[in-house]
């Protein structure tokens, strides 16, 4: 194989993303949160569709998902199911979040929480703790990006250089064009990923079976390794309880970037139209998962399951396709990393610094933009270069916490009586339980730690809300005029 071709294609992808991201600004002034943070609430249905779709398809789809298929089997399909359910959540909640933002001026999730519960403390606390999971997620995607550059260069580009190259590119276009850069680069990355996943999946299938369809792959597995076709999977660790609770926990994780994406829409109906078509994008997972299944028989002795797609490509595919796989995987990692970095900068400026230092909106807008580089240079880059072994654990705890914020959203969309102490106690108790059942006694009885957290969180939230004073009527009326039009507290 010509060793420079895969690296040239992968680097070429970075250059194209950089050009698209920088040009997304189109002469607009980016010093307000309204413009830099939510693109002036201007995104149309196609851009929004690709923005949300590419944002939710991370490096996991190109590395982790084939790895899960390789090591566990059909259990990997739970990801496709929860992503489809997230589209249902976006269809129901997205238009309401957009209307909150447009009428009350929210640009972050923390601002909406602080407003609904009349508590900057609760908004800031939610933003800070959400940022732990967001940072861990951004670091993981950065490590994945650097790993891809290292593989594509045959080991010539060390991880620290890869981290600087990837974060440098993201920093430039994100600083210049904000959410508009995320929208346009994600659109490009989304189309690239879809094409690459199907090209790689079909090529690998043809290479392994001589056919274009996937049936031959599964027929061989059914006769030689049938344990990969059912739960609890080849490792015996993904039972019905873990499958079910993982889906429930994941579909109720309202991560901050998703909130910003909804607020960036041109209208409420734009979100509905995008959400409606979102499940169609998730067929992108199928061909990459098939590569993992092919690896079970073709690469039986891999030490790292998540390298199965790349290893198979390097051994069986032409260099141009290996390069496209590198570009597609890098696109997946970058398209997921940049919305998290952007939302962290906004949350620190708007939900923490603004109430703490009583900053004006204009100063807060400028601060958010300028916080981006320190967050990358002082937190994400050093941690990514250090490649900590317990990062996945931090991420799992962070995502587990994201689900524990559910009471705050129930009080926005479904239940008028939710009180500030009820939400606070629910979140804190759920977080402690999730933390303990992730670190000390992982997933007891095969049930996801975040689900155990919700089992404690939700009853406490309801009980304490009923025992304490609700939020002021005028605030509740204001929110539920959007969440339940035509009904009032009277």
């Amino acid at each position: 194989m010509s060793s420079w071709i895969p690296l040239a294609i992968t680097m070429g992808y970075i250059v194209v993303a950089l050009i698209i991201g920088i040009n997304a600004r189109r002469g607009r002034v980016m010093d307000s949160l309204e413009e830099w943070g939510v693109a002036g609430r201007s995104m149309g249905p196609v851009t929004l569709y690709l923005l949300i779709a590419a944002g939710s398809i991370s490096a996991y789809t190109f590395m982790g998902a084939p790895g899960w298929a390789y090591s566990k089997g059909v259990a990997v399909f739970y990801v496709v199911i929860y992503l489809s359910y997230l589209a249902l959540v976006a269809w129901y909640c997205g238009p309401k979040v957009w209307a909150f933002g447009q009428r009350f001026g929210h640009v972050t999730q923390g601002a909406a929480i602080a407003d609904r519960y009349q508590s900057p403390l609760l908004g800031g606390l939610a933003a800070l703790v959400m940022s732990i999971g967001s940072l861990a997620y951004a670091v993981l995607q950065t490590i994945g990006s650097a790993y891809i550059l290292s593989v594509m260069s045959g080991g010539e580009i060390p991880v620290w250089v890869g981290v600087i190259v990837v974060l440098g590119a993201i920093a430039i276009y994100l600083y210049i064009s904000g959410q508009r850069a995320i929208g346009l680069t994600n659109a490009f990355q989304g189309i690239l990923m879809l094409g690459v996943a199907w090209a790689v999946g079909l090529w690998a299938t043809h290479e392994a079976t001589g056919e274009i369809g996937f049936a031959g792959v599964f027929e061989r597995l059914a006769s030689e390794r049938p344990e990969f076709l059912t739960l609890p999977g080849a490792g015996g660790d993904i039972g019905f309880a873990f499958w079910t609770t993982s889906i429930i926990v994941s579909m109720f994780s309202f991560m901050p970037p998703v909130w910003s994406q909804w607020m960036s829409a041109r209208s409420a109906s734009t979100i509905r139209r995008s959400a409606t078509w979102l499940p169609t994008y998730y067929i992108v997972v199928l061909p990459m998962v098939v590569v993992g299944f092919i690896g079970i028989l073709a690469l039986p002795a891999l030490s790292r399951a998540d390298t199965v797609a790349l290893t198979y490509a390097l051994e069986h595919m032409p260099s141009w396709l290996v390069g496209l796989l590198g570009a597609g995987t890098l696109a997946a990692a970058m398209s997921s990393c940049e919305p998290f970095l952007h939302s962290i900068a906004m949350a620190y400026a708007r939900d923490v610094a603004q109430p703490l230092f009583r900053l004006s909106d204009a100063t807060t807008g400028r601060l958010a933009r300028r916080l981006l580089v320190p967050i990358m240079a002082l937190i994400v880059a050093p941690v990514a270069i250090a490649e900590p072994s317990n990062l996945v654990m931090i991420l799992l705890v962070g995502l587990g916490f994201a689900t524990q914020v559910l009471p705050a959203f129930i009080g926005m969309f479904l239940w008028t009586r939710a009180s500030t102490p009820g939400v606070l106690v629910g979140i804190l108790s759920g977080f402690c339980v999730t933390l303990a059942l992730t670190l000390i006694w992982p997933n007891p009885m095969g049930v996801h730690a975040g689900f155990w957290g919700l089992m404690v969180n939700l009853p406490l939230f309801v009980g304490i809300s009923l025992m304490t004073s609700p939020v002021r009527d005028d605030v509740v009326e204001r929110f539920f005029a959007i969440s339940a039009p035509g009904r009032s507290l009277g």
Binding site: V74, F77, V80, I81, Y82, S84, Y85, A87, L88, W91, Y92, P95, K96, W98, A99, G213, F214, A215, F218, E219, A222, P226, E227, L229, T230, L231, F240, A241, W243, T244, I247, I248, A268, S269, R272, R273, A275, T276, W277, P279, T280, Y282, I283, L286, F413, W415, T416, R417, P470, D473, V476, F480, I482, S483, A484, P485, G486, R487, L489, G490
Partner: protein, 76 residues
Amino acid sequence: MKHFVVHPRSRRGWCLALAFALLISAGIWPVVAAFNRAELWFGLPPLAVLTYAIVTGCWLTMLIANRLLRRSDSDV
């Protein structure tokens, strides 16, 4: 003050809520147990078939819901 839990207020709304609930039930236990077989349907494992049936179901349900919303003229 009279507080409330938000729920559908029309037959159309209840039908949509039921469709959403059925879709979510289809992806979790016990329904998923019925598809947990080491055999192939249309060349795919039954769990993969169920997965893409759910993907299609979510898409179609939201398409229908959008039409119903347009007809009832209530956005947001």
